[in-house]
């Protein structure tokens, strides 16, 4: 890779997904993150009931993310060939798990704010 700068990386991601879809995904991710921060600040504490459901949903996010990447790239788990592959695979799983947990938590807080048990 020559000149692996932020601009190059943005250009590559724009090309992978198309400029519109890429920035739409960035905006969706940013909106969910901001909504998550908003409900945390609004509620002034973490709702452990919602957090539990968010945690329980993490494996679904992890599996979905890994399946999506394997499907999109004609790959299978048997293609894992070295330590860096395991790290990348775990990274994808963790990203999917955390992303989905944040989504689940935020959605509960936004749409079921009155089921607070604490």
């Amino acid at each position: 890779m020559k000149d692996l700068t932020v601009n190059t990386m943005l250009a590559v991601f724009e090309e992978i997904f198309g400029r519109g879809l890429f920035w739409a995904m960035v905006i969706v991710a940013a909106v969910i993150t901001l909504a998550y921060l908003y409900v945390l600040i609004r509620d002034r504490n973490v709702s452990w009931g919602k957090f539990l459901l968010a945690q329980l949903s993490m494996p679904i996010g992890a599996i979905a993310a890994v399946w999506f990447v394997l499907f999109m790239t004609h790959s299978k788990l048997g293609n894992i060939g070295g330590p860096v592959d395991v790290i990348v695979l775990l990274g994808i799983a963790v990203a999917g798990a955390v992303g989905f947990a944040v989504l689940v938590y935020t959605a509960q807080s936004l749409f079921r704010p009155n089921t607070e048990e604490s």
């Binding site: 890779m1 020559k2 000149d3 692996l4 932020v6 601009n7 190059t8 250009a11 590559v12 991601f13 724009e14 090309e15 992978i16 921060l37 600040i41 002034r44 990447v69 999109m72 790239t73 004609h74 790959s75 299978k76 048997g78 293609n79 894992i80 060939g81 070295g82 860096v84 592959d85 990348v88 695979l89």
Partner: protein, 439 residues
């Protein structure tokens, strides 16, 4: 109070981040604005493929007022690194197709004719339509010619029938190659994977094709019926010795037989036999599937204009240029870029990516009257696919040194999923970003 503090802190960090981002963006745009050189220079680029297009996009950003003209008769732009994937049934033919005009910047002229003659003394280029263009700077980026006629008995209309594949010839031929190749992976028999004795674009592609079909047969449970032979043009399997050894070991593991110093010269499609030139004379071999890669040469316009090396590659005609600056050795207003360049390595898109900034720097420096600083070290990258889902990210230079981009993280001689991901997902995106002059 705590909450207020926390809120303030959060807001402050957000603001700092935003300010940092804005400053970064401002620096980037300031850099590109600073670099513009005012000129009335006439720059002619022969070829609007990977090299010509990427260079045009970069030159319009660096030069203000230059008259940039590209000459290329082909309406379609081909993403050639994708052809191996098409020929293995992993991508459709249109995966590699786009329009030449999709990638060209505003403010350049495209003449959709072939370059017919170059007069380097008078500094003119004539086109097939009878136009004559004067130039101050000329870039030779026409790609190369596949000399299919050099294989006696072969013609392109045979591709896809009678067990004949030829993926280099273009997207429709790569797709037809998969028809013949798929039949081979289903019914088995003898498969011969050839390569020419000339310089060639992406010397990894014939290896990838053999590896991929072997893997597809293995997954389909038909591998035991397939007898796979790799017909090497000399005593090695790849130009870089350490890679050649690795491939030899992989071939051993996978049951692919290397037949060294076997160069395809003729075939009889009806009888399914092929004739190879070997050090011990011609050898005839039967096949059920054969992958043909013909000899490769510089286009006639280059060879007939006296711009080729006189003492090297005389049967191929690559442009005589300095291997570090890519500037022509006899005409200092001419540069070679991409496949046509007479340099020891680098007929790949990755090489083009490294060569374009060198040619750009050479031309802009010549206009500005400064000394150029960029040089090309022969860098080439080959994501050597060894299975569907695995590849080796091999990068090397003129000296056959491995030059890994991610040392200690992505091992060049290890079959990895991440290297496959790069080829499958990131490579075309990087290529497209390169075409736009952004990578």
């Amino acid at each position: 109070m705590k909450h207020i503090l926390a809120k303030t802190a959060t807001r402050r960090s957000f603001l700092t981040l935003a300010a940092g981002g804005a400053a970064l963006a401002a620096t980037a745009s300031a850099q590109s604005a600073q670099a513009q050189v005012a000129t009335k220079a006439r720059i002619v680029i022969i070829g609007a493929g990977a090299g010509g297009t990427a260079l045009a996009n970069r030159l319009v950003k660096r030069l203000n007022g230059a008259e940039i003209t590209l000459i290329d008769p082909r309406k379609e732009h081909l993403y050639q690194p994708g052809l191996t994937l098409v020929a293995a049934g992993l991508k459709p033919a249109d995966y590699v197709l786009s329009n030449t005009t999709d990638w060209l910047p505003e403010g350049v002229t495209l003449i959709q004719e072939a370059a017919a003659a170059i007069d380097a003394e008078a500094r003119t280029v004539s086109t097939s339509g009878g136009q004559t263009l004067g130039y101050d700077f000329l870039v030779l980026a026409p790609g190369l010619t596949l000399d299919h006629d050099a294989i006696e008995g072969f013609s392109l209309d045979l591709v896809g029938t009678n067990g004949i594949g030829a993926l280099y010839a273009g997207p429709q031929y790569a797709a037809a190659t998969w028809q013949a190749a798929q039949a081979f992976t289903e019914t088995g028999g003898v498969g011969l994977f050839t390569r020419p004795a000339t310089e060639m674009k992406c010397a990894g592609a014939p290896l990838k094709h053999a590896f991929l079909l072997e893997d597809i047969g293995r997954s389909a449970g038909t591998r035991s019926k397939m007898d796979i032979h790799y017909m090497s043009n000399n005593q090695s399997l790849f130009g870089v010795p350490i890679v050649s050894e690795k491939v030899r070991m992989l071939f051993g593991d996978r049951g692919i037989t290397p037949d060294y110093s076997h160069v395809l010269k003729a075939m009889e499609p009806g009888k399914k036999t092929a004739t190879f030139a070997t050090p011990d004379g011609d050898v005839e071999r039967d096949y059920d599937y054969i992958h043909v890669i013909p000899p490769q040469r510089a286009p006639d316009v280059i060879r007939q204009s006296g711009l080729s090396w006189a003492d090297k590659w005389t049967d191929q005609g690559w442009v005589e240029c300095d291997k570090a600056t890519l500037q022509h050795l006899r005409y200092d207003t001419i540069w070679a870029l991409g496949d046509v360049a007479g340099v020891p390595k680098g007929k790949t898109a990755a090489s083009v990516k490294w060569q374009v900034p060198v040619v750009e720097d050479g031309i802009v420096s010549a206009i500005a009257g400064t000394a150029p600083t960029e040089t090309y070290n022969g860098y080439t990258s080959c994501p050597m696919i060894t299975r569907v889902g695995r590849a080796m990210l091999i990068e090397f230079d003129y000296n056959n040194n491995l030059t890994p981009s991610f040392p200690g993280i992505i091992a060049p001689l290890e079959e990895l999923w991440i290297s496959w991901l790069m080829k499958e997902v990131a490579l075309k995106a990087t290529y497209n970003a390169m075409l736009r002059g952004r990578a």
